[in-house]
Structures are given as C-alpha cells and as structure tokens.
C-alpha cells in the first residue's frame, strides 16, 4: 500500500482522504526516518556531512564528543539506578529517559546558561546539563518534595506533570523575553542583557493536548522565541503514534506558521546542531521552531563506535566513564536511602506567598493534635 499524498486530499470529499492502511503505511514509512530526517552520525557511527547543519557542529572535535558520550552514559546510569530504586520500593515511581539520552544531552548542551527551559517530567538529561544533580530529582519520585531546585537560578522550570501544560507556560515566558527586548540584538547584546531563547520539552502523546496547540498558536501570534522540542518515542504509555496523528509531527509546525525539523533523536551531534540552530533562530528574533526527535536505535553505541573508528579513542576512556557512572549510581542510591521524610507540617508551608490565616490555623490545630500523642506517651 502506497503512502497517500496529503496535497491530493479534498476536505469536501471524505473518499479522497487516506484510508487506514494508507495512514499506517505513511507512519511506518516515517518510522524509518525518511529522507527529511536530519542525521549527522549514522547508526553505524559514521559522521556524515549535512550542508544545512554542519556549521552548527563544526566545533565538535574528539574531546567534545567524548564529553557528550560521558554525559549520555552518566545520565543513562543514573536513570537505570532510578528505575532500580523504584522496583525496590524506594521510589514511588520513576519516569525513565532510556533511549532519549542523545535527544536530551544534545538539546541540553545547545542551551546557553541564559536560556530558559520548560521540561515535562522526563528531562533528567537536560536537568543534568543545567547543573541539577540527579539526587535533586529523587524527591519528586520518593515523595519528599515536588521539585527541589531553584527554577529561576537554574533556568530550568520544575517538572510539569499535567501533559502539555508547560507548552503555554514556556510560550508566556518567551513572550516576556521578547517584551523585554531580549531578542534580535545581535552584536549589541551584552553579557548583562544577552539575547535569550526558551526551549519547551514534550512527548508525542502531548501533541494531542489543547495546551500544546494553543502554545503553538500563541508562539506564532507573539513571535515568541521558543523552541518546541518534541521527543517522539512513538508511544504514549500504551498508545501508538498513529492514534495521535495522521501526519509526521514536525509537519504540523508549518500549519502554525513556523519551521519544523525532524531530527534523528539518537544522533547526539544532530540533536546538538539542530537545537543550536533553532535556539539561535529564536535569539536572533526569528523565533518559534518545532523540532521532532525521532527514536530509532541506541544513541550511545554509535558515538562509541565513532570515537573508536574516527578518533582512535582507546578503551581506557570508556572504562573510566563506566567507572564514573557506577560511582554516580552508588552516590544516587546512598543519597536516596538516607533521604529524610519531610517535617509533618511541610504541607502547610508556602501554600501562599502571603500566609493564609485559614491555613495557619489548620497548621496549629494539626501540630497540637500531633503534640497530644507525645504528651500521652510521656505521661
């Protein structure tokens, strides 16, 4: 069955629309990537030229590639430890990033410290690049907090659990960057007032949410300097991509009036290069890009192969990274097991910026109730 041609669709004639087999064939066709997929490092570890994006990867020498490899290995090891801690009952849940290391490290390393990030709840790799230690993620999944880092200092918003909400929050933040004149200053931009961009992360499942569409509409309407970074891992829990869309997701961007690019999400060099391009577009005032990161095969192995074959990196480097990863995992585990429960009245703190007499009264009543047991026990 051939893939249908969207240009031939006639909205007035339902018979002209693609049938189910054509839709599936189209989606399976894109599963292989397709000619439009940006790839700078093949699954076999070969660095291939790309006229459009090579300029954004020109500085990636052996040392940089080694550090990208290291980041990917470490976040995968932290992720696997998080998974194990969940299985062992130490965490209530863990949201794995397995297989998305290249997409996240590529994007995370493309961001400048002055850019802003709005993650979903899976961006442990991007968090790593923003200087957030994996131990800082544990509280969310162990139930001791809802996020422990300072989002304004790290320029990495707290995890958003409601699917797609963050796309509007990111767009609003980016509107603020534009209203403050922090785009398009070029060489006039200073260290005190640099040009900025926002990057918003979400998955393929989120693309069915109204908030994601509204985020696209608003970003276009206000020329907000925001990169929508869709990590398409093909599944929304149990539901395959064809339940969310009839067209490749990156093509949707055109309908909102901004460019969409499909990138091999297992190619850390391509992710880094295209993310740099998109962020630079935003900072320069050409805002709003949608990137779709496509999941294919293992993202780390191809970097290892490339380092060995094209850069002559020897085994001691890989052994060193592996040892470092094990140390990180051990530290994560030790930290997790030693995490104290929050104080009983934690729930009453910071509900409001200006304290509510109602909540304060409930706190006092609650503490008195707790104290009554202590008194009984001692008596």
């Amino acid at each position: 069955m051939s893939v249908s041609d969207p240009q031939a669709w006639n909205p007035a004639d339902p018979r002209s629309r693609p049938n189910r087999e054509q839709v599936l064939a189209g989606l399976r066709g894109t599963d292989a990537g397709g000619p439009e997929l940006v790839q700078l490092l093949t699954p076999e570890g070969e660095r291939v030229p790309d006229a459009r994006f090579d300029g954004y990867a020109a500085d990636i020498d052996a040392e940089t590639l080694k550090s990208l490899y290291r980041d990917m290995v470490l976040v995968r090891r932290a992720d696997r430890e998080g998974n194990a801690l969940q299985r062992q009952g130490q965490l209530g849940i863990w949201v794995p990033l397995l297989g998305q290391e290249a997409a996240q490290i590529g994007a995370g390393r493309a961001l400048l410290p002055t850019d802003m990030v709005f993650p979903s709840y899976r961006e442990h790799g991007v968090a790593w690049c923003r200087g957030i230690d994996p131990t800082d993620l544990l509280g969310i999944f162990r139930g001791t907090d809802h996020g422990s880092w300072d989002p304004l200092e790290k320029r990495f918003h707290l995890y958003t659990i409601v699917i797609g909400n963050q796309c509007l929050n990111a767009t609003g933040y980016a509107m603020g960057q534009r209203f403050e004149g922090r785009v398009g200053n070029g060489t006039d931009a200073t260290a005190d007032a640099p040009d900025e961009a926002t990057m918003c992360f979400f998955g393929d499942g989120a693309t069915s949410q109204g908030d994601v569409h509204e985020g696209f509409v608003w970003a276009a309407a206000y020329d907000a300097p925001v990169v929508f970074y869709c990590q398409n891992n093909q599944w929304a829990i149990s539901v395959p991509l064809e339940r969310q869309t009839r067209v490749p997701l990156y093509e949707r961007a055109r309908g909102y009036g901004f460019p969409g690019v499909r990138v091999d999400g297992n190619d850390v060099i391509a992710c880094l290069a295209v993310a740099r391009w998109a962020l630079e577009e935003c900072r320069s005032g050409n805002g709003r890009d949608e990137l779709e990161l496509w999941k294919l095969k293992d993202p780390i192995e191809r970097v290892r192969v490339n380092l060995v074959r094209e850069h002559g990196v020897d085994q001691s480097f890989f052994d060193g990274v592996a040892a470092e990863a094990d140390e990180l995992a051990a530290r994560l585990r030790e930290f997790c097991l030693a995490m104290p429960d929050p104080a009983p009245d934690r729930m009453f703190t910071e509900v409001y910026a200006e304290a509510s007499p109602q909540v304060e009264a409930q706190r006092e009543e609650f503490l008195a109730y707790h104290a009554s047991f202590a008194t009984d026990g001692e008596a």
């Binding site: 422990s148 509409v217 608003w218 309407a221 409001y352």
Partner: protein, 324 residues
C-alpha cells in the same frame, strides 16, 4: 471624592496599577482596541501600548497558561475572562499551575497573577454568560478569591489584588458595572482580605457578597419600615474567608441569613453555615438560613428573576429566622 460607575472605577484602578508598576500587563479577549466587552479596559491599550495591553487569541487556557509563564519571568499579568462561563478552558491551568507553582517551588516562584471574571446574572444574557462559579475557585488551595460590590471597593481592590504576590481570582458583579457610587481616591483602603459591616443592625445578620450586596442593603431599608433591624456584612473575600465580623455580629443577633446567586450545594454559603455553627453554636437562636440560586444549571434568562435572590426572598428568610 468622585462619583464613578463600578466600570470606570475598575478602569481607573487598572490604570493606576499600570502606572505604578511597568511589570503589570493586561491581557484577554478584546481588551485592547475594543477596551473589553464591558469597557473595563477602555483606553488602556492606547496609553500603554500593545505589549502591555494584549488582545489575545481566543484561548482561555492560553490566557492563563501564558500568564503563568509571564509571571515566572517576573511580570504581573491581569487576565480578563470575558464571561464567567468561559473560564473553564482555563480552569486546568488555574488549578494545575497557577494555584500550585508557589507551593511546588516552596516559595521560590511567586505567581502574582490576577484573573478578572465578570460574574452573576440579571442581564438577560444567553447561556454561559450569567454564572457564579466562585465556589469552584474558593475550593482550590493556592488561590485567593475576592468579589467587589461597589465602585470604591472596585477601585481599591483591583489595585490591591494586582500588588498581591499570590494568584487572585477577582470576581466583578457584571450587572452592577453601571451603578454609580463615591470613590475616595485619597483614603487608605481596607486591606483586601477583610470583610466589612456595611450597615449596622441588631435583629438579624445578613452576610453576602458581589451583586447580592445591593439587594441585601435594599432589603435592610425595607425591613426597617417593618421595624426589623438587619446588619449587612459584605464578605469581599471568599478565600480566605474573613468571618470574624460575621461571628461577632451573630453573637449579638443570634440569627444569620447568607445570600448568594450561586447554587447552594458545596458552596461558599455552605462553608459559612458550617463555620458559624462551629464558632457561634451557643449564640444561635435559629439555624443559619441561605438565600441562593438553585442546584440547576443557570436557567434561560426569562426565568432568572425567579432564580436570583431578590429583596422579597431575603426578607422571607429574615422572617423565617425571626419566627424560629
């Protein structure tokens, strides 16, 4: 002392807030060029520009969701929801983000956002234009919910809400927009989160807010001719409730009637009844009575005179309370 409609008082208050703080933005559907369907934001875009008074896409979740992002960036957005019944596409962002970001971040990220909602019935409108959804917001931790009832409060409360570092859902009684009253722009206003005794009395306490305040004050005048003295409390803040003046009043009168246009089930009025029986149990001479809308969807407007609490229904409840 100026005599202003509530609409003009709100407009002046918004203008003052925008002049005082360049981080204050106004955003909503038709708020710019048109000045809002009720003209509350009239002239603001002309004077402050399109980047401080935003004619937004028709997208309530977008209005609230981008306001959250703008607040993270340090702005103080004032959102207008065109009509009460249209807030629900934005309810997810209000409940899931706006109300929770401060708590989630343990105080690191304040959410100084005001959501203005014209509310209540009595204007002969079509469906979704006459609702009283305030209890749906009062129930949500992290939000502050207030309702103004007159021009002076409107002028001050909107400015106080904008300077609050917490999200405030600001209800405006749309059928009172064109009623005029004195606005004292020189005085020191009452704090935002305080209720106020508007009329002192000795026989029955009447607690109310928003559009029903005028109804209850009129009822108090009518009751006086029958020799009944009503004490009328304007609640002003619905979350947190400021009930000390109500408790103090009920301890003197022993009787309370609570008046609101909203459906009674699981509402602000039921919360007041619960708390008053807790705090004033030994002072009550009669059960707390309520005069409210009904537990129905808001009816077609030809029925709304029967749906809305009016002077006669308030006086009927007062009589029942006294006769208990």
């Amino acid at each position: 002392m100026a005599v202003l409609t509530m609409a003009k008082a709100l407009n002046d208050g918004l203008r003052k807030a925008m002049e005082a703080d360049p981080r204050v933005l106004v955003m909503g559907e038709d708020v710019g060029k048109l000045g809002g369907v009720f003209r509350i934001t009239d002239g603001l875009q002309k004077d402050f520009g399109e980047e401080r008074v935003l004619d937004t896409p028709l997208s309530e979740s977008g209005i609230i969701g981008t306001a959250v992002g703008l607040a993270i960036r340090g702005f103080r957005p004032v959102c207008e929801i065109q009509f009460d019944g249209f807030v629900f596409p934005g309810y997810d962002q209000i409940v899931s983000q706006l109300a929770k970001v401060h708590f989630r971040s343990q105080g690191k990220v304040p959410m100084p956002v005001v959501v203005r909602i014209p509310f209540g019935g009595g204007i002969g409108a079509v469906e979704h234009h006459s609702e009283s959804p305030e209890s749906l917001f009062a129930h949500v931790a992290g939000l502050k919910v207030v309702a103004c009832s007159n021009s002076n409060d409107a002028y001050w409360m909107i400015q106080q809400a904008i300077s609050t570092d917490d999200p405030v859902i600001f209800f405006e009684p749309k059928r009172r927009y064109w009623e005029k009253a004195e606005v004292d722009v020189e005085s020191t206003p009452s704090p935002l989160l305080r209720s106020r005794v508007l009329r002192e009395g000795t026989d029955v306490t009447v607690a109310t807010y928003g559009p029903s305040v005028r109804t209850c004050l009129d009822a108090a005048v009518a009751a006086e001719t029958d020799g009944t003295s009503l004490e009328v409390v304007d609640l002003r803040t619905l979350s947190p409730l400021d009930l000390d003046p109500v408790f103090e009043s009920v301890r003197r009168t022993g009787r309370l009637v609570v008046v609101s246009e909203a459906p009674p089930e699981s509402s602000v009025t039921s919360e007041i009844a619960a708390r008053v029986q807790q705090e004033c149990f030994h002072s009550l001479e009669a059960p707390v009575l309520r005069v409210t809308g009904f537990d129905t969807p808001y009816p077609p407007s030809k029925c709304e005179d029967d749906y809305l609490p009016d002077l006669d229904r308030v006086l009927d409840a007062v009589d029942r309370s006294k006769a208990w």
